[in-house]
Amino acid sequence: MRYNEKELQALSRQPAEKAAEIGMRVPKKGSVVKRRLVKLVVNFLFYFRTDEAEPIGALLLEHCRIAKEEPSGFSISFIEDPDRKYYFECSSEEQCQEWIDALRRASYEFMRRSLIFYRNEIQKMTGKVNIPGKDLILLMFLFLFFRTPWSSTVSLRRPGSS
């Protein structure tokens, strides 16, 4: 399968939802835990050698499973091969939990299910369909005009601050 590495490298340079230097072990025979800069950008998790600017690799976080690992780590596996696990070691249980929470909501599929869920809940309460409402059209307008390419939070704040 072809993909453009430069596209992914450009994405990896964008502001992260979450980034930290933690221990990581890839699912390869004889692999050991190494210190990596791990960076979550949209639904990709990038990992870097701590002294390099370009990532060594990226994991697309769709159809994956995030599990807690004892004592203070977590693992990522993918549904087509659940025994193949990427292990991560955090410095504290708290840090580990923060990563798990962030990674679980980092998939587009999760966002899509959330969207359907909220839409149904609102529909139940109002008895009518809310999309496309004028709020959302306005929002889309703002999004398209004020967005910086990668960050929705910035675009949310901008109209107010200018």
């Binding site: 399968m1 949209v42 990709f44 159809h63 807690k68 798990i100 929470d101 309460m125």
Partner: protein, 254 residues
């Protein structure tokens, strides 16, 4: 740079819903020094499938695995001049990245593709979810203020069926240690009455917890916060899956 290609290819052909699909021609980049193709000349016709912020292309409709992947983040989609009719380009903001030029089979298809591709980013999806979350939250706060002190009003937004509480050793435990700090953060970002703050604490993700349950129990599923409900319902599936994996392991490790 490595990518979990197997999983990505698996995701491409999995049963999860496609946002859009159809045939497009993959044309050469307008900036590239290539002999320009005649109408449809050197442009291979491929089957394109959009899933979230990923655009996959296949040799044919039923071909597996995908030939390639385009990650639709940080790009703009616009109509462009090309030898082919109904062409459009996916351009990236980062320097040194050449645009993809694709051509649809008709004006309607072209319009539809440009529309879906230009809002395929994760950020846009997140914005929609946040907006709906806020709307629901406002509606629930409004409802709660009309029923002062009512802990179990008739209009409960979500009430999952009774089932035993999650086992403490379960991996998908609720009530994260970081929930309080995140709740505070949400509450500061959105200046809100006490009721709002309370429901933010109740939901580790955002201000969409149900104010109506009073936030009694950290293990209660009585909340309309999607991540919690997702985990709650997911437990049964995870249990079944664990059993299945164990059974599979015993059965000779297929």
């Amino acid at each position: 740079m490595k990518l979990n290609e197997h999983s990505v290819a698996h995701y491409a052909v999995s049963g999860s819903p496609a946002d859009h699909e159809g045939f497009l021609r993959r044309c050469s980049s307008p900036g590239a020094r290539q002999p320009s193709a005649g109408a449809g000349g050197s442009c291979p016709r491929c089957w394109f499938v959009l899933k979230g912020n990923l655009l996959f292309y296949f040799e044919g409709r039923e071909s597996r695995p995908p030939l390639g992947l385009i990650v639709l983040e940080g790009c703009t989609v616009e109509l462009c001049e090309a030898p082919q009719e109904f062409a459009f380009a996916i351009r990236f903001d980062a320097p040194g990245l050449r645009p993809y030029v694709l051509a649809a089979e008709g004006p309607e298809a072209q319009e539809a593709w440009v529309k879906v591709l230009s809002r395929a980013s994760f950020g846009y999806m997140r914005l929609l979810v946040q907006e709906l979350e806020r709307q629901l939250c406002d509606m629930q706060v409004g409802l709660a203020s009309r029923h002062p002190g009512a802990r179990h009003p008739p209009h409960r937004a979500t009430r999952p069926p009774d089932r035993p509480p999650p086992q403490p050793e379960d991996e998908l435990r609720e009530g994260s240690p970081s929930a309080d700090t995140e709740g505070e953060e949400v509450a500061t970002r959105l200046p809100a009455p006490v009721g709002r703050r309370r429901l933010a604490e109740n939901c580790p993700w955002g201000p969409a917890g149900l104010p109506l349950n009073g936030g009694d129990s950290p293990v209660s599923p009585e909340t309309s916060c999607f991540p919690k409900l997702h985990d709650w319902y997911g437990q049964e599936i995870m249990d079944l899956r664990r059993e299945w994996l164990q059974a599979r392991g015993l059965g000779g490790g297929l």
